[in-house]
């Protein structure tokens, strides 16, 4: 009787999670395994893949004129924008973590840009960056600065992408805010009694207690930033004449696969991107061992 029930439960259980298992096999396991092989082929996506060994990687490292610049751009973008987002997100959260009149209104306002569809945001910024009539230069003109070209040159393009990223700082802010609200008030009160200054309270209480979510956001932020696609692809406009200053690795993968029909080569690039993400994740985990404070460990 019980034996039958256990068997029935096993069957029912697997039936319930069957969609997940199939999804895992088709959309995770198969792509991972097959792309090891695909990365070593010449393949247009329509013909049969031909095995060519490591030629894709050789071409990538030695010949492809765009590869190293797009690697540099991708890494710079990620390590500039993500930490800035964390810093501003935390500052904003601390500013908003007080009982003030209309504080809910402000929280909503700062979160608003996060809700807007990314295509709507990217297109809006593309118009804002337009040199003649765009908002960005309209504002600079008030200060007597004329004719800035926001999208040409590596430094300007990086700045422009980072500004768009920071417009969405509300997503960091809201997570920090929930973290700040879970810090027990008596810790601060004890510090007040001991006469601790504002800075001391921040550096010795707030920051250590926030390190777990700081770390979580660092990891998810990096993974997302390394895969940035929509903003640069829309800012670059015409895919036929790529703007090299905006050519993040994901963009280059997209155009090699779906514009140039070099699927094998694009998948080889995917592995490089995956590898970079992995390395940065490992570095972040390494840092976390030294800096992240988990409350339970102390008990």
């Amino acid at each position: 009787m019980t034996f039958n029930r256990a068997r029935r439960d096993t069957l029912t259980g697997y039936l319930f999670i069957l969609p997940g298992i199939l999804g895992f096999l088709i959309f995770v396991a198969y792509p991972l395994l097959s792309s090891v092989y695909f990365s070593m082929t010449k393949w247009s996506g329509f013909d049969k893949p031909t095995y060519i060994g490591l030629k894709n990687f050789e071409y990538m490292f030695h010949t492809d004129p765009t590869f190293w610049s797009s690697i540099r751009l991708t890494i710079t973008y990620a390590i500039v924008s993500v930490p800035l987002g964390l810093v501003f997100g935390l500052l904003l959260a601390m500013l908003l973590n007080k009982k003030l009149p209309a504080i809910r209104f402000f929280r909503t306002l700062f979160y608003l840009p996060v809700v807007i569809p990314v295509v709507a945001t990217a297109t809006l910024w593309m118009y804002m960056y337009q040199p003649q009539y765009g908002l960005a230069n309209n504002i600079l003109r008030l200060f007597g600065i004329e004719g800035v070209d926001w999208l040409s040159g590596d430094k300007m393009a990086l700045l422009s992408l980072t500004l768009i990223y920071l417009w969405g700082v509300g997503s960091n802010m809201i997570i920090f805010l929930s973290g700040l609200q879970s810090v027990p008030a008596d810790v601060y009160e004890a510090a007040d009694i001991d006469g601790a200054s504002g800075w001391l309270k921040f550096s010795r209480i707030t920051l250590p207690l926030l390190t777990p979510i700081l770390f979580l956001q660092l990891i998810t932020g990096l993974i997302t930033a390394f895969q940035t696609f929509v903003q640069p692809s829309i800012l670059a406009g015409d895919p036929a004449s790529p703007n090299m200053s905006l050519n993040l690795l994901n963009l280059s993968i997209y155009s090699n696969a779906f514009r140039g029909y070099e699927f094998g080569y694009a998948i080889a690039q995917v592995w490089i991107l995956f590898f970079i993400i992995l390395i940065f994740t490992i570095i972040a985990f390494g840092l976390s061992k030294r800096f992240v404070y988990y409350e339970n460990e102390m008990k």
């Binding site: 697997y14 007080k98 003030l100 700062f110 003649q132 997503s171 609200q181 993974i223 694009a266 993400i277």
Partner: protein, 291 residues
């Protein structure tokens, strides 16, 4: 001393105790929020201006003219009715698929005892870490082989195999429901599917709402997948139509901004009416929710 008595002794409204600090804080917030929100105001200003009003020197900083007709013309330019209903159908089917499949999987993992459930849970959880780009091209290959290129199927079908994040959310939420409910229903002879639909779902409405809202938002915003799968403009969702309109640039900024505002409107409305659920989804990343 518990938190409540403490709150009674220490005034929590700091700004009433130290008003200058509070006012400074408010002033800083005010300045920052103007900077944050101004791009949207600029967008509205352009969307409402006439063909000559957009390019005035010096520029208009606030709406002075109100050409509401731009919204109709902008909508016409992108064939709004068609792309809007495309978006609605695709988004609706994706939302349904992700919510239902993730609930089923979450229920299986959290409320049925069977060997291997922990392993699969961690497999699903781990797949959240896998960059989307890794699966993009091999999966494209599968759908192309099946003859589904240039159809909505690749966008929709994938939703019916569960969403890792939603599986995680469901498992967390469903684990917190007492098992006594299930046991009582089992004695009455109810099957697992009946327990899920009659008992668990009705008391899990906050979870369902969170998933529905997050799924709707994500698929309404989706751009990369339609871009690689949909060639014909007839099949495009709003995101594609807006991106295509923007790249024409031209001198109809007002029509573009009007169309773009129409694209944003549904998610903005959703956000204003269901802020709680947006915050809950995010709050679950941290153990505490937003108060």
């Amino acid at each position: 001393m518990n938190a409540q008595t403490k709150a009674a002794i220490v005034p929590s409204k700091e700004w009433q105790v130290r008003p200058t600090k509070g006012i400074l804080r408010l002033a800083a917030l005010l300045v920052l929020s103007v900077a944050m929100i101004y791009p949207i105001l600029w967008m509205i200003t352009i969307a409402l201006s006439s063909n000559s009003g957009m390019f005035k020197v010096p520029p208009e900083w606030f709406p002075r003219e109100f050409h509401f007709r731009n919204f109709i013309d902008g909508a016409d330019t992108i064939h709004f009715l068609r792309v809007f209903s495309n978006s609605l159908i695709i988004t609706g089917l994706i939302t349904l698929g992700q919510t239902v499949s993730s609930l089923l999987i979450g229920y299986g993992i959290s409320r049925i005892q069977f060997p291997g459930r922990r392993m699969w849970f961690f497999a699903f959880l781990g797949s959240m870490m896998l960059p989307q780009i890794v699966s993009l091209i091999p999966v494209f290959y599968i759908f192309a082989k099946l003859g589904l290129y240039n159809t909505w199927w690749p966008l929709i079908l994938t939703a019916y195999f569960g969403n890792p994040f939603f599986i995680f959310l469901s498992r967390q939420f469903l684990s917190s429901i007492p098992f006594a409910f299930d046991e009582a229903a089992k004695i009455e002879g109810a099957s697992h599917l009946q327990i899920l639909t009659r008992i668990i779902v009705p008391i899990s409405m906050p979870l369902v709402a969170t998933m529905v809202i997050l799924a709707f938002q994500a698929s309404w915003n989706e751009y990369l997948l339609p871009l690689i799968y949909l060639r014909d403009a007839d099949l495009w969702p709003l995101s594609m139509a807006i991106a295509a309109f923007s790249s024409q640039y031209g001198n109809t900024w007002n029509l573009f901004m009007a169309a773009n505002l129409l694209y944003m409107l549904p998610v903005l409305l959703l956000f204003f009416f269901s802020q709680k659920y947006f915050m809950q989804g995010l709050g679950s990343l941290n153990s505490a929710g937003i108060k």
